[in-house]
Symmetry: C2
Subunit: 203 residues, 2 copies
DNA sequence: TAGACAGCCTAACGATCGTTCGGTAGTCTA
DNA sequence: TAGACTACCGAACGATCGTTAGGCTGTCTA
């Protein structure tokens, strides 16, 4: 709690990770929990155990800080998608489930960057949103291609609705799923079970 | 645009609706578009064509204003659900579709109260959230009963996941569906088509 | 060893925030 | 007509906001 750095070793790090990364992590978590405008730079500084002015040594503004958090979050889901695409799938359904699981894992991974992307993006300043839109569009186009591949009988409009509804369903999990209590793989399996077989299927 | 009330008739109303309702409507729309903390009382006042102090004649605080907006939004979906339940359905699937359509119609109805509920709730002040939770829980329990009725083979845990994922899918439409361009009924039909039959069904 | 630089600090800036005070019209009731 | 009440306003309050200026350390490099 004190501001004096009483570290015995030469590299001054408080918890485990250095200042800049700690600011990023804490800010992402706070943006996720409380929202962007609701979180002040002083609150972020307090959580990262630095003084408010120190944040500006690493980030030129609050908007820049948010933009980097959103970018990191998009990188996480993009890489997760690429990794899921790299493994051979035994069936279209298994392929879909692998990607849903990858998206959800990215959502609940150690850092809250992706989840912050979900909750904060709609209210982010226009300049920040514009910068993030390109990455989002690219990610969404990958999903469109995936859906067309596993369900080629769908019209392009139906694909669009399914993709956006699936995104809504997956991303809403940050509000109600606790990764500490349940298995993300089980969650992905449950979602794909309904999405693939439908509620009307009588087992 | 001017503040002077140059109405010829006795009741002083600027557009069509009186001061209190206009404040509610404009605030709901602004909260929906920009978020709660991002919208100032001065902005609301400007949109409703009153002075900031006048808002406090109708609402004791910004939180109270939000709480009433959320309450109106919940009433809208609750009534929509009850109306959908009142009509006789020819099949479980038709019953489900009627309720999905009712929820979406409430989401895109003339006022933005329900949609504001979707986007603003996670970041609302704790006191406001607590007040709204009771209504939400009741509405969600109605959906749980509905899902158990139309798909009785599901476990209670599967029902929970399906309900929350469906809510996520439906509520996300406020971010990507434009009711002025497409039919809400068609949207409901497309969602239920996928939800009921599944992607794996080959027509 | 001198200088550059990263990292972080204290203190304060102007702007904006939610909110309140005291007042002024206009309308309705007794 | 006196009084109460509703609706609204201008002006200001203290608090908090994002941000900046300037200074202090310690480490690395020439």
């Amino acid at each position: 709690m004190t501001a004096t750095t009483t570290a015995t070793t030469t590299p001054p790090q408080t918890h485990d990770v250095a200042g800049r990364d700690r600011i990023l992590r804490e800010a992402a978590q706070l943006f996720l929990d409380r929202g962007y405008a609701e979180t002040s730079m002083r609150t972020i500084a307090g959580a990262a155990d630095v003084r408010p002015a120190s944040i500006y040594h690493h980030f030129s503004s609050k908007d820049t800080l948010l933009a980097e958090i959103l970018s990191i979050g998009m990188d996480a889901v993009t890489h997760a998608f690429a990794e899921a695409a790299a493994v051979a799938a035994t069936s279209p359904r298994a392929r879909l489930e692998a990607h849903v699981a990858a998206h959800l894992h990215a959502l609940f991974a150690h850092h809250a960057f992706t989840a912050a992307h979900v909750t904060v993006f709609p209210f982010a300043p226009v300049s920040v949103r514009r910068a993030a839109v390109a990455e989002r569009d690219q990610y969404e186009s990958q999903w469109t291609a995936l859906l067309l591949e596993v369900a080629p009988h769908m019209t392009s409009e139906a694909t669009r609705v399914v993709r956006l509804a699936l995104f809504g369903a997956m991303n809403s999990t940050v509000h109600w799923f606790d990764a500490a209590e349940g298995s993300v793989d089980d969650l992905a399996e449950a979602i794909v079970q309904t999405l693939w077989d439908g509620l009307g299927a009588t087992p």
